[in-house]
Amino acid sequence: MRAKSISARMLLHAANLMVIFFILLPLAAVFIGSIQSEKALQADTRRVLPLEFTLDNFMVILSKGQQKGHIFEQITYLPDNIKNFYAACANSAIIAVSVTFLTLLFGSFSAYTISRQRYKWMLFLLQANIVARFVPAIVLMIPLYVVMRSLGQLNSLQGVIFAETGFLLPYAILILAPYFDTIPTELEEAARIDGCTRFTAFVRIVLPLATPALAACGVIVFIISWHELLIPLILNARPDFMTLPVVIASLVGDVHVFFNLMMAICLLALAPTVILVALLQKYIVEGLAAGAVKG
């Protein structure tokens, strides 16, 4: 590559700064919004950075509305859902962990056989998975609501886990299958000669080799499940079964809730997946690429 001229370098730096500004704008907004009081926000509508900082917004959420701090002293109304923050966190975590586990387990079973064996019906299964990825959630949620309602499974964690696992399995299979293609079959064949069954050969030999793909797929599935709104929104309307995104959605349009409080709960909700992405960036990048195009 030829060395870049000074003007080209300046242009590239400027372009990068614009992109960085665009990426960080909402993150700056949520952060700055969450560390000030409504009063500070209203006092000067031209000021970008607040004059004084406060952690009261977080405190009121994390203490379930008990410790009001001085911002909320005068406030009598707090949405009940904000007081349910810990329950919502726990629900989100239980659902996301279960969905990730089930999806990886069943997804790797399917992806492995799709990669190894060539039966007509498996081609059909693969195609069904590709098409399934495109089915919009709203189409499934109307009938699922009716079915779950008649089964008495509305407002339950297992209902949401079941629905999300089914919804995410096809995507997981598409991410995992190309990876199993790259694992040589000689190792399993040797294990089979040594007396392993097909299943133990898969569990003992193939799965450990597939750890990077499982990590990539697992973190992507976890993030999607943590972010999922429509499925729990429709299935779990009762406060004790709400997930974090549902709690956040319930604040929309509530004119009595301060922006600052909303930003604080948004920041708390996005922190886990931001940390995951920062730590596991490499795996996510590989997984996203594998799931879109067979590698």
């Binding site: 030829r2 590239l12 730096h13 990068n16 992109v19 960085i20 665009f22 704008l25 909402p26 907004a29 919004g33 509508t45 970008v48 079973f109 399917s110 799709i114 039966y119 299964l125 693969l126 195609q127 590709i130 098409v131 990825r133 089915v135 919009p136 959630a137 709203i138 189409v139 499934l140 109307i142 009938p143 699922l144 609501y145 009716v146 079915v147 008649s150 079941f162 696992t165 089914g166 919804f167 096809p170 069954t197 299943f199 993030i223 972010h227 709104l229 429709i234 995104p245 956040i248 959605a249 604040l251 922006f259 909303m262 996005l270 992405v277 920062a278 996203l288 879109a292 195009v293 067979k294």
Partner: protein, 294 residues
């Protein structure tokens, strides 16, 4: 265990999930769409057959066509700008010897980590007429002198929702393009440089043709997902002002889950949306998704 029985055994859980969470609901949505289903019928558990009535009501509802029009505009705007931006930014972070490119590359995946509903709410704060972050920045830097009502005006509201959506979904496209860039043989560029081709010609005659495949992937995937946009609409505009940001998924959601809870009509409209997306999915499978063997 023979191989064929092993394959069936291994795929049994997936088949069960696909049947119960995908195939059955899709079929059942079809059933609901040709029956009269409201809350009262749901309580009694008896649905009267109504033929094509629900489809007729959806297709003659002006609000449905507004929603379809908005969905098409939203999809064209977001997918179009994402493809252009993804190529530009992928090339940008691919630059060697520019330290800011490394910073961008490090940050590029961050929007992927933000829950869509939180993203929507954050942008509600950014756009807020009175207290919004964007008006603050623009006022304090002197770029504007009057506050702007970004989401309150029908003409701009749909575009105001498109920007947060692009912000959140762009990383996916950038990552695919960036990965594809790594696969372009260096020799092509070296040869072109010897031949004295300008940077623009190298981009036009080498980079872009080599990216054709991945751009097709992004085009189809993003189009399908943008068609079903929901969270940002719910958080930022709830379809408003007026019907300016009613989109297809929002229409199905409101018809079904807001009073008077018409599950039949909701299913019919969701079916129409799904039909449009599935046509794209089949195209994707046949033409774009590479599965060489099998």
């Amino acid at each position: 265990m023979p191989a064929s029985r092993f394959a069936l055994f291994m795929n049994l859980p997936t088949l069960v999930f696909l049947a119960l969470v995908l195939a059955y609901p899709v079929a059942y949505a079809g059933y609901l769409s040709v029956h009269r289903v409201g809350l009262a019928q749901l309580r009694r558990g008896v649905f009267a057959f109504s033929g094509w009535e629900n489809y007729g009501r959806v297709l003659t509802d002006p609000l449905f066509w507004t929603a379809i029009k908005n969905t098409l505009i939203f999809t064209a705007v977001t997918v179009g700008s994402e493809i252009v931006l993804a190529v530009m930014i992928a090339l940008l972070i691919n630059q060697t010897g520019i330290w800011t490119s490394r910073v961008t590359r490090f940050l590029i995946l961050l929007p992927y980590a933000v829950p869509p509903i939180a993203n929507g709410l954050i942008w509600t704060f950014i756009y807020s007429f009175q207290f919004g972050f964007l008006n603050r920045i623009l006022l304090s830097t002197g770029l504007i002198h009057e506050r702007i009502n970004w989401t309150g005006v029908p003409d701009t509201a749909l575009y105001a929702v498109a920007i947060p959506y692009v912000w959140r979904t762009l990383p996916f496209a950038i990552i695919l393009v960036h990965a594809a860039l790594q696969g372009i043989p260096r020799e092509l560029y070296e040869q072109a440089a010897i031949d004295g081709a300008s940077a623009w010609r190298r981009f036009w005659h080498i980079t872009l043709p080599m990216l054709r495949q991945i751009l097709a992937v992004i085009l189809v995937l993003r189009t399908a997902f943008a068609f079903a946009v929901f969270e940002e609409i719910l958080a930022i505009t709830q379809g408003g002002p007026g019907d300016a940001t009613w989109v297809a998924a929002w229409y199905s959601y409101k018809i079904t889950f807001a009073p008077p809870n018409n599950f039949g009509m909701g299913s019919a409209s969701a079916y129409i949306l799904a039909f449009m997306i599935i046509v794209m999915a089949i195209f994707y499978m046949r033409v774009v998704y590479r599965r060489v063997t099998l």
